[in-house]
């Protein structure tokens, strides 16, 4: 066996690290001594998400290197040491610290540096670049004494940097030399819309501005002067005017570089010296620098492929066809909260190309598609304000999928009740690249799902790396996953869990039609096994919304999730929060005082919730009955904040106080909240009533919302949507209160009977065949003839309501469980609190360690 050869990777950024990972996974490390120089004091980190550093991410969070990666794989890494010269004659790399390491091959992954235009005063104190964690730390430190910040450069990185300055609380300006923002990716109209969206966020944008001088006073930046004679006062300046390849080591060792910089490479990522490769932003391929991470990763994989094979064969000429042939510069970003995407060639040069443009300056949405002459293929496009179609459009383009007859539909939001125009993932070839950050194809994803029996999207991401870069392809990965599951015969199964071979809807029907009153009876007749944390709470909810027994009845108690079991919300340290009902958000001064007293006496942390109520946090299990007793005595009752139940009905003050209110929204909100209090449903429910169309109660973002009109009430349903927000849809207009209540009764029971477990109303409506039109037929026109029955069920539930807290504390057997230890009166000794902003919160692990509490 011949001795291992030395392979030196110069640069430990994202691309250099990706190369090492690929070498390790290809087993090539057996044939090579892998050595890498890392100039920065920290190993490779995620530069793409660098701005996350300002929203709380730590250097550790951003690290790309798994702990022990270098040690376990035998990679020699020199951290904080920069490779400074390559002696090609004797094949030795020397470093700033004086190391001299012989090499057989080198991979240059030196990346790029931020370009700082030669402006007078550019080196003044208070000027920064935006590239490394050190840069960010310096900015953070300096910004503490600043009010205003300017970013020079309105490209991708500049806007990202503006976001960072905004996050630091600075009045932020962006200065761009070109006539629009993101001049490389976006056209004039798109740039204008992007600008107005960004200005709405409080960032001032100055385009067509050429900076001539940076003025300092007392050694610190104070203002900038522009060529047009104007000036701008600022406390700090960040340059983000583009990048330049770091090619100095190549240059000084006689390797060919481009006229305007960049290490020239061929299709194999080889430089003019065949033993030296270059990848990433330092490399110049066909006179082009690729300033995105995805092309850098592609180069890394080409180089790794060639070098690992070269080692195997112990020869230099690779027997492979792995080549770099350029890369797609498509990109999708969320800049300052605004979606921006650009793909393919959005600036067609040939006169044959056709364009479809949707420009909605009112909502700040701009979408442009560039098509070939006969309109059958996508060549490129731009999306500003709403980039949800990016994944689909990119696939159409990359895979040259023929467009549907009305390609404009691809740019439009789905019509009401209709499906999103698009394509099935089935139409994609296996070779379709799904994740461009990590170069994962559809075929690889499907293979991983099949071969490794993956059963959730998280494992797909873990196994294939797809979706772990920018995350833009996750919806597509999810679609592929679902399609594969369906093919494997999984998706058709809607069984609740392994204990019941029925869907929730089917079980609900069985419970009602066979008058089943307990879980035991249901599992005996229609299921198997002993149940689990999925079926037990689900069945409990169905029983509650059908028969409405107290949920802590002996036969139901073991079914309850901990929140329902203790009638409070479990928090991360195992204590609970207590939320009494405050119907419509209206509360008397006396009751407010009681809440304060209870919180003070039991040492609880108080917070106004998002739903106009007051949350009392940090109650130990043993304190709960005592807290409830005090609250009940003061006239409060359970707010059901713990259950999958009706939570809150928010309201504005309406005509009682407001000069615009046209109806009494507070009275109606209280009435609605009291009518449906405690109602168990597949998912928690929220509602709101607004007294006029100004919509101060935000009723259109609720599961059901009511807005006053001059003539009565408008009823909206199925809003919210959770992490994918969705507006409620108008169900009925100008109806009187009796009709309103009737429709809500019907709507809620219909939802409860037919929705899936933990399915929100928004998702339920999205899946409902026929959509809102069908729902209107059922609820308003009684097309199924079940309305009387739906109303009857609601009437029963309303009439059998009881305050679960009150019933519980009145029953000594039920109270017995509220002890932390069954054999001791001691409270849980593991609970540790620390003070913050005048209250206490759970200690974190670090603080617990300091306090000497361990497991």
């Amino acid at each position: 066996m011949t001795a291992k050869k030395n392979l030196i990777v110069i640069g430990n950024g994202m691309v250099g690290h990706k190369f090492l990972e690929l070498m390790v996974s290809s087993d090539a490390a057996k044939h090579w001594n892998l050595i890498t120089f890392c100039e920065e004091p920290r190993v490779a980190y995620d530069r793409v998400n660098l701005s996350g550093f300002f929203s709380g991410k730590t250097a550790g969070d951003l690290s790309l290197v798994a702990p022990g990666f270098y040690q376990e794989n035998g990679i020699q890494i020199y951290i904080g040491d920069k490779a400074v010269a390559i002696n090609r004659e004797h094949k030795i790399v020397s470093s700033a610290n004086g190391l001299e390491v012989p090499y057989d091959k080198i991979v240059l992954a030196t990346g790029s540096y931020p370009f700082v235009p030669s402006i007078k005063g550019k080196d003044a104190t208070g000027t920064f670049v935006y590239r490394t964690i050190d840069d960010l730390e310096a900015m953070l430190d300096y910004a503490k004494n600043c009010q205003t910040g300017v970013v020079i450069g309105g490209g991708l990185l500049g806007l990202e940097c503006a976001n960072a300055l905004q996050n630091m609380g600075l009045k932020t300006h962006v200065v761009e030399f070109a006539s629009r923002l993101m001049p490389v990716q976006v056209d004039e109209i798109g740039g204008a819309i992007l600008r107005s969206k960004i200005e709405e966020l409080g960032v001032s944008v100055h385009t067509s501005k050429s900076t001539t001088e940076i003025v300092s006073e007392d050694g610190k930046v104070t203002k900038m002067l522009f060529a047009d004679g104007s000036e701008l006062a600022t406390d700090m300046i960040v340059f983000s005017a583009g990048i330049r390849p770091r090619d100095e080591i190549a240059r000084s060792s006689g390797i060919e570089v481009g006229e305007r910089g960049g290490i020239v490479i061929n299709d194999s990522c080889q430089t003019s010296d065949p033993d030296i490769y270059a990848i990433g932003e330092c490399a110049l391929y066909q006179n082009r620098i690729y300033g995105l991470v995805a092309p850098g990763y592609t180069m890394a994989s080409v180089a790794a492929d060639i070098l690992s094979r070269a080692a195997d064969c112990r020869q230099d000429a690779p027997s492979t066809t792995s080549t770099f042939t350029g890369a797609d510069m498509s990109t999708k970003l969320k800049l300052l909260g605004v979606d921006v995407a650009s793909f393919g060639d959005p600036f067609p040069k040939s006169g044959d190309a056709k364009e479809i443009v949707v420009a909605d300056t009112f909502q700040g949405i701009y979408k442009k598609l560039v098509l070939n002459q006969d309109g059958s293929r996508i060549l490129g496009g731009i999306l500003v304000g709403d980039a949800s179609a990016y994944g689909t459009l990119l696939q159409f383009m990359q895979n040259e999928i023929a467009l549907p007859p009305h390609p404009e539909d691809l740019l439009m939001p789905p019509r009401e009740g209709g499906a999103v125009a698009g394509f099935g993932v089935d139409s994609l070839p296996d070779s379709a690249q799904i994740c461009s950050c990590n170069n994962v194809t559809k075929g690889q994803i499907c293979e991983a799902i099949r071969d490794r029996n993956l059963t959730d999207v998280a494992s797909v991401k873990k196994c294939t790396q797809a979706g772990t870069g920018c995350g833009g392809c996750v919806p597509l990965v999810t679609d592929i996953f679902k399609a594969e599951m369906k093919k494997a015969g999984f998706a058709v199964k809607n069984h609740l869990c392994e204990h019941f071979e029925y869907s929730r809807q089917e079980l609900y029907h069985l419970v009602r039609s066979q008058e089943i009153k307990t879980f035991e009876e249901l599992i005996e007749r229609h299921g198997k096994g002993k149940g689990c944390e999925i079926c037990k709470p689900t069945v409990s909810s169905m029983l509650a919304s059908t028969w409405n027994d107290h949920i802590l009845e002996k036969s139901h108690v073991a079914l309850q999730d901990t929140n329902d079991y203790f009638l409070a919300n479990i928090q991360r340290d195992g204590t609970y929060s207590v939320v009494p009902r405050i119907p419509g958000g209206e509360i008397t001064p006396d009751k407010l005082i009681v809440l304060g007293e209870v919180a003070r006496d039991f040492g609880l942390y108080t917070k106004i919730t998002g739903g106009q109520r007051i949350d009392l946090f940090g109650a130990r299990v043993d304190q709960l009955p005592h807290i409830w007793r005090r609250l009940i005595d003061a006239g409060f009752e359970s707010g059901h904040a713990y259950g999958k139940a009706l939570r809150t009905v928010k309201s504005c003050v309406g005509s009682t106080w407001c000069r615009f209110g046209v109806q009494d929204s507070t009275s109606l909100a209280i009435e609605v909240e009291l009518r449906y209090r405690g109602l168990r449903s597949p998912h928690k429910l929220k509602s709101a009533v607004s007294g006029c169309t100004r919509e101060c109660a935000e009723a259109q973002s609720k599961d059901f919302g009511i807005i006053a009109t001059e003539n009565g009430w408008n009823l909206y349903v199925c809003g919210n949507g959770g992490i994918k927000p969705q507006h409620a849809v108008l169900l009925a207009t100008d109806i009187d209160k009796e009709t309103l209540i009737k429709y809500i009764d019907r709507f809620l029971v219909f939802y409860i009977r037919t929705a899936d477990r933990l399915e929100r109303t928004a998702t339920w409506l999205n899946k409902l065949e026929g959509g809102i039109e069908y729902l209107k037929q059922v609820i308003i026109e009684d097309s199924l003839g079940i309305c009387a029955e739906l109303e009857g069920q609601m009437e029963h539930l309303v009439n059998t309501y009881q305050c679960e807290w009150k019933t519980t504390i009145e029953d000594p057997h039920k109270v017995q469980r509220f002890q932390h230890f069954v054999n001791s009166d001691l409270p849980d000794p593991s609970i540790v609190r620390v003070a913050e902003r005048g209250q206490t919160r759970p200690a974190n692990e670090h603080e617990k360690a300091l306090a000497g509490v361990s497991e």
Binding site: L559, T562, R817
Partner: protein
């Protein structure tokens, strides 16, 4: 469940914890046994009981006794009330992460009293 006698039983002390009726069928309670938090679960209406550590290694809170008891493919288990990881009642093995296992305790019912073994 009554533990069969074994050699080590000669040095085992059984600590009386509570009445069997203090544990509702298919629920758990937490007992303080020699300074340790022990979660005791009752499966069914009879005398079938199991004991695990009450400490949930995922949430780092002492809460397992408050989880929902059930089975997965016949393996008796409890689901943590915080992030829902499942643990075998018989072995303490986490069923969702093979690298995690929590301590178990011998437990028995004698004359309607629940007892936990300490060594």
């Amino acid at each position: 469940m009554v533990q069969s006698l074994s050699v080590s039983d000669t040095v085992t002390t059984w600590v009386d914890v509570c009445s069997l009726h203090a544990i509702a069928p298919y629920t758990g309670v937490c007992a303080l046994v020699k300074g340790e938090q022990v979660a005791i679960f009752r499966v069914g209406n009879g005398q079938e009981v199991y004991a695990l550590s009450n400490y949930d290694p995922f949430s780092k809170a002492f809460v397992l006794s408050r989880g929902i008891v059930g089975d997965r493919n016949g393996t008796l288990k409890v689901a943590s009330p915080i992030y829902k990881q499942n643990f075998s009642l018989t072995t303490g093995q986490c069923l969702d992460d093979e690298t995690v296992k929590i301590p178990t305790f011998a437990v028995r019912v004698v004359a309607d009293r629940v007892q936990v073994a300490v060594s």
